[in-house]
């Protein structure tokens, strides 16, 4: 429908400007940050001068940062494994099984996504304290894994809605048992949802700071390493690493989105 045809001229005029202004608000800080990562004279000051790659050079020589990147990667992959292993059955359970406490279960799983990270972080901290588990990368993995189950569950659940139940019924009808049907029919059909979930979980884990803040042991993840430096003093080196983080996140998010759209366009969960 051509909204503009029967629309008041006034609304259609300011609305696009407002939209552009909001996009500007959302992106200018990041753009500024990237620009200043090339600035020879510091994180602030206008206009930026002395274009240089020094900060990037410094970044690549910075061992502590790369150690924390490695830690973050380890955590991200481990968290991904946990979230998917727990999240996929959870989605299936919510879709197909009825059990006592189902409603509570569904809310409980989604809570970490809506609650402020501090609550998730602190409650897990108390768990580890009582169970006498020392804080380390493991505790962070458990934290991320738990918090991000909801991402896996939501994505896979959405994929399940598009799944043609008849395919699984056909598989059973032809003689495959539940386990075989699960691996040969259900999972392949959920492929795109699972990949999408994995991508999202990975990105969120790499960027995660609120929950990690409380569960950190001796080894830092990347966000916490940066955080530590912020307390000490700011250099554009932080701009540099932030810019790199931004670019990677951008790629990951756009890929996830494209994946989602292609699965929807085909009308299948395949």
């Amino acid at each position: 429908m051509e909204l503009s045809m029967s629309d008041a001229r006034s609304t259609s005029r300011w609305l696009p400007w407002h939209a552009m202004a909001v996009f500007g608000f959302l992106y200018l800080p990041i753009v500024t940050l990237i620009v200043y990562s090339f600035n020879g004279s510091g994180v602030g000051g206008f206009p930026p001068r002395n274009l240089t790659l020094d900060w990037y050079r410094m970044l690549f020589a910075d061992d502590a940062i790369w150690e924390s990147v490695l830690n973050s990667l380890i955590v991200a992959f481990a968290a991904m494994a946990i979230s998917l292993t727990i999240g996929i059955p959870a989605a299936l359970a919510l879709d197909r099984a009825n059990f006592p406490g189902k409603a509570i279960f569904r809310r409980l799983v989604l809570l970490p996504l809506i609650l402020p990270g501090i609550i998730t972080g602190l409650s897990l901290l108390m768990l580890f304290r009582e169970a006498d588990i020392k804080l380390s990368l493991l505790t962070i993995v458990l934290g991320h894994g738990t918090a991000l189950i909801s991402v896996a569950t939501t994505e896979v659940f959405a994929g399940l809605q598009k799944l043609d139940r008849a395919q699984e019924e056909a598989s059973l009808d032809l003689g495959a048992n539940y386990w075989q049907t699960f691996w040969r029919v259900t999972i392949p059909n959920l492929r795109l949802s699972i990949i999408g979930a994995a991508l999202l979980i990975f990105t969120l884990s790499m960027d995660e700071i609120a929950v990690s803040f409380f569960l950190i042991g001796r080894d830092n993840t990347l966000p916490l390493e940066i955080w530590g430096r912020l307390r000490r003093g700011i250099t554009p080196e932080i701009n540099a690493i932030s810019s790199i983080i931004f670019v990677f996140s951008l790629i990951a998010i756009v890929s996830w989105y494209r994946l989602r759209m292609s699965s929807e366009k085909r009308g299948l969960a395949v």
């Binding site: 429908m1 051509e2 045809m5 029967s6 629309d7």
Partner: protein, 367 residues
């Protein structure tokens, strides 16, 4: 020429009366697709006009242009002397009954019906009175406080009707409003809609792809094909005297006879009869029900009747009638509709009147 865009003398019998709506040379293209090409049509006061066409014919687009949801690329629409196409939808004294009713889910039935009156800032008690009147007219008074989500499809349709009519528009547009109903309810609603239109006296422009529906309800049918008007005439006229092959085949069944005319005689295979047509190739539409079975032995063709002989190839039972597929002696295949009979003979003698062989022209090929 059977095609006429001027309204036939409808009810009042006053030829000089001005039409309510004049559509002139309306054209619309979507992207590369010309959906409407040069449409000109007039709509009289109080008439029930159906725009009939297949999907893709442009009928819904034409309706939306009249309503104001699309703008035409060229042409104009004039209602009672004023340029309608220059007005936005919300200023036109035209109301629409949508295909899926488009009732507001967050408002009650009452509030839905009164929506247009509230938008016009009518006083509250007048709104209440008009709404009550409209609900009574569609027999939905009991559901005034219900929400649309809680009533059936047929009931929603009545509310959509009431919501449109309560504003007393000059013209009511109906976009395939019965297509979502099941067959029995549909037939019932056809009758109710027709009598409602008579009662209210407003011009209705009804869009449908169902030719039977069009014939039952309309004063006139405008047959639309690939963006152009194929024929505009009353149901009887369009059925008895189709102008083109498309019309003849789209509305009802027909047999298309291709033949030659020479010296006032049309011949199609071994059949021939007198016509008043120029020499050359010709096309005739012969309705299956106009071919009669002859019981009293083979006769000779003369001025008033054409006889021929054929064998039944196929029989389709349609309840009161049967549709027989006949192969004539010369190989021509014809459909014949006749009353149902048990134990038919395979060999038949048949006849038809030359007057029932209506000359039609080929429908134009369109890109």
């Amino acid at each position: 020429m059977a095609t006429s865009t001027e309204p036939a003398v409808v009810r009042s019998g006053k030829p000089g009366v001005q039409p309510l709506l004049v559509i002139r040379n309306i054209a619309k293209t979507f992207g590369k697709n010309p959906v409407l090409r040069d449409i000109s049509l007039q709509i009289a006061e109080g008439e029930f006009l159906t725009i009939l066409g297949e999907s893709g014919s442009g009928k819904t687009t034409l309706l939306r242009i009249i309503a104001g949801f699309e703008s035409a690329d060229s042409g104009e629409i004039v209602m009672e002397g004023e340029r309608l196409d220059r007005l936005p939808a919300y200023r036109r004294r035209v109301n629409t009954v949508f295909q899926h009713y488009a009732l507001f889910p967050h408002l009650t039935v009452e509030e839905n019906v009164g929506y247009g009156l509230r938008a016009a800032r009518m006083p509250k008690d007048e709104i209440a009175a008009r709404v009550a009147e409209a609900l009574a007219m569609v027999k939905m008074t009991a559901f005034a406080r219900s929400k649309p989500g809680k009533i059936s499809g047929g009931q929603q349709q009545r509310i959509a009707l009431a919501r449109a009519l309560v504003n007393r528009p000059r013209l009511l547009l109906l976009d395939e409003p019965l297509s979502a109903l099941d067959a029995n309810l549909r037939r019932q609603m056809q009758v109710e809609l027709k009598s409602l239109q008579r009662e209210v006296g407003i011009s209705f422009v009804f869009v449908t792809h169902d030719q039977e529906e069009a014939m039952v309800m309309s004063d006139r049918i405008a047959l639309l094909r690939m963006g152009e008007l194929e024929q505009v005439a009353s149901p009887r006229e369009i059925y008895r005297r189709p102008a083109t092959t498309y019309t003849a085949q789209f509305i009802g069944h027909t047999n298309l006879l291709r033949g030659e005319v020479r010296d006032g005689i049309a011949s199609c295979n071994s059949l021939s009869w007198n016509v008043e047509l120029p020499d050359g190739s010709a096309l005739f539409s012969l309705r299956p029900e106009n071919i009669r079975l002859v019981t009293s032995g083979a006769g000779k063709s003369d001025m008033n009747v054409v006889h021929f002989h054929g064998k039944i190839q196929h029989q389709a039972f349609h309840g009161a009638t049967e549709l027989l597929q006949i192969v004539c002696d010369d190989g021509l295949t014809l459909s014949v509709r006749t009353a149902t009979r048990e134990n038919r003979q395979g060999d038949l003698n048949l006849e038809f009147s030359p007057a029932d062989a209506v000359p039609v022209r080929d429908s134009l090929e369109r890109r």
